[in-house]
Symmetry: C2
Subunit: 282 residues, 2 copies
């Protein structure tokens, strides 16, 4: 997805936030945001937002020496998510359709997005479960394809929601072989191998790095190993806005599971900001 006008101030926010997490030095933070500002007029209409994220990550690492500004934030998100697990497990156990509930909970976990804003009240998002709807849904189609599938590739997103993904993996593991792909290097609060090691994902799935150095998946930036899994997958499930942005123009069938958290993505998929969607790309 090419950069949209709305992405410019949003990336500015993200840059400031990352810089402030990486450093307390006001001058260094100012240098970083000035660097972003100087970059803006050079960013062409065909540029990808995810590529700008890579550039800004490099600038922040270079100027602060910190490669993972969100390390603590991710750890805290994982703790919060863990504290909510028992409640979610109960919901799934009592659900008429446990797989559907697990997908919904996994999508709600997608509310935790440092790219959009640090302060997410995971618990208040719980309220959305009772609404229980994907505004755009291809769940029926997913179930049909799942019956015929032998394996599924899941593209992970942020570290906190990965805790909830365990519940989805638990449902899916009875049916298919699962590969769960995480980012190759820190990108905002996205899950990398380091956070995956803190979780129990490997009880249910093969965990691999996608090779992605940004908060999403652009195939050109992924590893050969990942591309091999990608090509051979019977089913693909991509979580979150970054994976959607990076893969939206690809030809392969991909189910996207996400909460729409900004105007450009909401417009792209035809739902309102704040709504949940689970759909097959076309």
């Amino acid at each position: 997805m090419n950069i949209q006008l709305e992405c410019f101030p949003c990336l500015f926010n993200q840059t400031l936030e990352s810089a402030q997490l990486a450093s307390d030095d006001r001058e260094i933070i100012r240098e970083i945001i000035d660097t972003y500002a100087e970059m803006v007029p050079e960013i062409g209409e065909e540029s990808k937002t995810l590529e700008v994220v890579i550039e800004m990550h490099d600038v922040i690492e270079e100027k602060t020496g910190v490669s993972d500004p969100y390390a603590d934030y991710k750890r805290k998100n994982i703790e919060t998510s863990r504290s909510l697990l028992p409640e979610f497990k109960k919901i799934i156990a009592q659900a008429e359709d446990p797989l559907f509930s697990a997908l919904l909970i996994s999508a709600i976990g997608n509310s935790i997005d440092a790219g959009v804003g640090l302060e997410v009240d995971i618990e208040s998002n719980l309220g959305e479960i009772s609404k229980g709807v994907f505004v755009r849904s291809d769940y029926g189609l997913f179930k049909k394809k799942l019956k015929k599938a032998e394996n599924i590739l899941i593209l992970a997103d942020n570290a906190g929601e990965a805790v909830f993904d365990e519940l989805l993996l638990e449902e899916l593991q009875e049916i298919v072989d699962i590969t769960y792909a995480v980012r190759d290097r820190p990108a905002i609060n996205d899950i990398t191998m380091k956070e995956a090691d803190m979780l129990n994902i490997d009880n249910y799935a093969r965990v691999i790095s996608s090779g992605s150095p940004t908060s999403g998946t652009m195939l050109d930036y992924t590893s050969e190993e990942f591309q091999d899994y990608y090509r051979k997958a019977d089913l693909r499930l991509a979580k979150g806005m970054g994976n959607l942005e990076g893969l939206y123009e690809e030809d392969e069938e991909i189910f996207h599971l996400l909460k729409a958290k900004c105007g450009p993505v909401s417009d792209l998929i035809g739902i309102d900001e704040g709504e949940l969607a689970f759909f097959l790309n076309d």
Copy 2:
């Protein structure tokens, strides 16, 4: 108030929003946001946020020919606020302390702030009335000073909340002579003489232009007439963040009435974002 790091992305958002309201031409909008981006590294630590707003207003007017991008938005805000008036009037009529309720409603109106974001659900902000509190309050002191005052100068803020201000003016007019100062030229969704003419403020108060060309009040930028009222006022009541930003370092006594809508202002006055305050500067 000098520009804070958080102001840079916020002003970027405001610039994009204003540009999109002023023009549908993507190239022109892009030119405007590039101009802002180029300006950022030149903005010194001692610069005032309100001065940057003036510069960006000039850029937008020059590139689009539109001097008041928020004209329609303000008109709609006034309509929405008007539709809520009967309910507010009832609340004040039934209140134990009508002046306190009128001040609270006037502060709640301050939620309508295009500088922070266009989408404000005025009606949902109604819910805050039931909470009924200023987190920081010098109401007792205000009442005491009001008893001795013969006149009050009120510095207005956005156009939509001015409708609610009428209720406050109705309470105050019994007690003091009121001067109500609006901006001199359009600045975001702030009230100017044009919107004041759509309202009934002149039933209760002398309406003047402050001379301010930005979304706040910096004395150096105000008219002599305004400065005269300012100096001679027995009481001063300034609404909203812009007036606070511009006047915070002045020596005269000023009561500030506002909703804190950003980190820097919340930090400055010691309350959390989203909270209401009514206090005397120190």
